[in-house]
């Protein structure tokens, strides 16, 4: 429908309505009520969700969580030390891999790629599609190609890190591209006019100008990776290991995997332990998001 058609349609609509303005106001306030009702339901659900988790998890929240190892038999003294360390290792690996690859792809697509060429358009479409592939399918990729098959890494930290990297790569690329696009062309023209090469322009002008947006994208991607459970289960993360990971080739567990393992247990003590683990996970997420907001405010460039 074109704008003109829509406007015309609306015009006929209003001439009818304006004659019954009382009914009109009644409808108006009725709709407002429905919208506020919907917003109230949304806010209420999220409030109940967060309070239940805090109320269930807080009594179990203690130093034991950080100092003790998981246990399948002793919920009272069980901790999640190996899971916390596993998650931190996974985040470090994912960040180390996704930052260079993601930014390089974004730079290529924004600064170098000729979007009339079919393979560049294909790369773009491909990234959009990758962003919506279910995470469990990435787990299958990890299982078939990284854990077994060509890379044959086994269910190790490195395999988990690579799988999560591939999963969140599209997020970094999409956000970094937007940040790079926001740098005005005049900045590039200025640098080029002064004799800088294309790469010098990108490295000294475009990247510093878009760093806050890129950092936000990276943190967004990592906060998605930190809660991912399905791919780690599929590639065979260990359940409740009583040892800390000691290198990239080590077996591992992560907080979400541990939450999953505890929630399946019939013993309610394990459910409390799961709630406490969720609290730790949400705490980490909150910290990451605060850093993102800080970076955005501190380094945001106004052109």
């Amino acid at each position: 429908m074109t704008g003109a058609q829509i406007a015309a349609k609306a015009a006929t609509q209003t001439t009818v309505i304006s004659r019954r303005s009382k009914k009109d106001t009644r409808r108006e306030s009725g709709f407002a009520l429905i919208m506020w009702g919907a917003l109230a339901i949304i806010c209420l659900s999220i409030a109940v969700l967060l309070t239940t988790i805090v109320v269930d998890g807080l009594p179990r929240f203690s130093m034991d969580l950080f100092t003790n190892q998981p246990s399948k038999v002793n919920p009272a003294t069980s901790g999640i030390q190996s899971a916390i360390l596993g998650t931190l290792y996974l985040m470090a690996i994912t960040a180390a891999l996704v930052i260079p690859v993601g930014i390089a792809t974004a730079i290529y697509l924004e600064e170098y790629a000729d979007s009339t060429k079919w393979f560049n358009r294909f790369i773009e479409l491909n990234i959009q599609n990758l962003a919506s592939v279910p995470s469990v399918v990435y787990g299958l990729l990890g299982l078939a190609f990284i854990v077994r098959g060509p890379l044959d890494l086994g269910p190790t930290l490195m395999a988990g890190g690579i799988t999560l990297t591939l999963l969140v790569l599209p997020v970094v690329i999409i956000v970094a591209r937007e940040a790079i696009r926001a740098v005005p062309p005049s900045i590039r023209d200025g640098a080029l006019a002064l004799g800088a090469t294309k790469w010098q322009t990108i490295w000294k002008q475009v990247l510093p100008g878009s760093i806050s947006g890129i950092a936000t994208g990276v943190i967004l991607a990592l906060s998605r990776a930190i809660g991912e459970t399905a791919p780690l289960i599929v590639i065979g993360a260990a359940v409740s290991p009583r040892f800390n990971p000691d290198g990239l080739g080590s077996a591992f567990t992560a907080m979400p995997v541990q939450i999953f393992a505890y929630s399946k247990d019939a013993d309610t003590q394990f459910l409390e332990l799961a709630s406490a683990t969720i609290l730790v996970l949400m705490g980490l997420l909150l910290l990451m998001n605060s850093i993102a907001i800080y970076l955005r405010n501190r380094f945001e460039q106004k052109w």
Binding site: K9, L130, S132, A144, I259
Partner: protein, 325 residues
């Protein structure tokens, strides 16, 4: 200067080609070419990822169809791949129906709530309220899905559904899973739909207001239809996320491992394709076994469904943009 930076490079990713344009290859030009090639290689990783996903799924799926007929897999109504001997059956329909059933419940939650929130944010909300509501939706979008699953399992089923519907509600049930998947995809639906409505040019609203239309008429009869393809894209994207969601269903809706017939009651456990994959592929199914192949055959089906939905939504958004930009 021979290597003037803005000399158009003739070939994409080919630092070594095109010597006609650069009369002498200065070290600087070679460096620039090398950088260009390495950036292209990075960009190719995402294409390689897709290729590997398709390859890994196809390889096992082809092997699977060597043992099981396509008709049995797609239209059979008995799903018992874990059982031995005569009891084993590979009719995927119960899992597919479970997936769509839970997605359906999820959309019943996410569509009205998400669209109302989007209309409110795009057309009604004063800046002050917007500043509160937007972050709430962002918080909802940032909560890991396992938390939603845990909440469905430990709160929705025992504290809400059982008191309301009676004790016959199973510990894992399609209703609890569907409700929470709905809450999970709500922010996606709301934010994509809001973007679509915000992008409608203001002149359309001015025209309608100028003719005396009320805000309700402007929102529902002008902005909503004008943004329709973007809004449908939001729904399609939401559905695609719901279909691929794993943990909520695995914890609160059923594992999808043993479904001798199609589950029709919302208070019974079923499962979904994604939940089946995650519950069965726990890393120890031996390569080459029929169990291992089944996981990939289901994964391939899931991948194709999500791919089709996503291409559809990209098309819809693109079509919508052409009208006004």
């Amino acid at each position: 200067m021979a290597g003037t930076p803005n000399t158009p490079q003739p070939a994409m990713g080919g630092g070594g080609s095109g010597p006609n344009l650069l009369r002498t290859r200065s070290p600087r030009a070679i460096g620039e070419g090398a950088i260009r090639v390495s950036l292209f290689v990075a960009a190719a990783i995402s294409v390689i990822t897709t290729t590997l996903i398709v390859l890994s799924l196809l390889r096992e799926t082809v092997a699977f169809f060597g043992d099981v007929g396509a008709t049995e897999f797609l239209f059979g109504t008995k799903w018992t791949p874990q059982l031995a001997g005569d009891q084993q059956s590979f009719g995927m329909l119960p899992v597919l129906v479970g997936t769509l059933y839970i997605t359906g419940i999820a959309m019943l939650v996410a569509v009205p709530l998400g669209l109302l929130a989007a209309i409110y944010l795009a057309e009604y909300a004063p800046e002050r309220v917007r500043k509160i509501v937007k972050p709430i939706l962002e918080v909802l979008a940032g909560v890991p899905t396992i938390v939603f699953g845990f909440f469905a399992l430990t709160f929705i089923t025992p504290e809400l559904l059982r008191p309301l519907l009676g004790p016959e509600v199973q510990q894992s049930n399609q209703l609890a899973a569907g409700l929470l998947v709905g809450l999970l995809v709500l922010p996606t639906v709301a934010s994509v739909a809001e973007d679509a409505m915000t992008a409608v040019p203001y002149s359309l609203r001015e025209g309608a207001f100028g003719m005396g239309a009320s805000r309700l008429i402007v929102s529902l009869r002008v902005v909503f239809p004008a943004a329709l393809s973007g809004i449908i894209a939001a729904l399609v994207l939401g559905a695609s996320r719901a279909i691929g969601e794993t943990l909520v269903i695995l914890l609160a809706g059923g594992s999808g491992q043993l479904l001798p017939q199609v589950v029709t009651s919302p208070t019974d456990a079923s499962g979904s394709m994604a939940a089946f994959i995650a519950s069965t592929a726990t890393g120890d199914a031996p390569t080459g076994s029929i169990e291992f192949e089944t996981i990939f055959a289901v994964g391939f089906t899931l991948f194709v469904i999500c791919l089709v939905l996503n291409l559809l939504s990209i098309r819809l958004v693109g079509k919508y943009r052409q009208v006004y930009e």
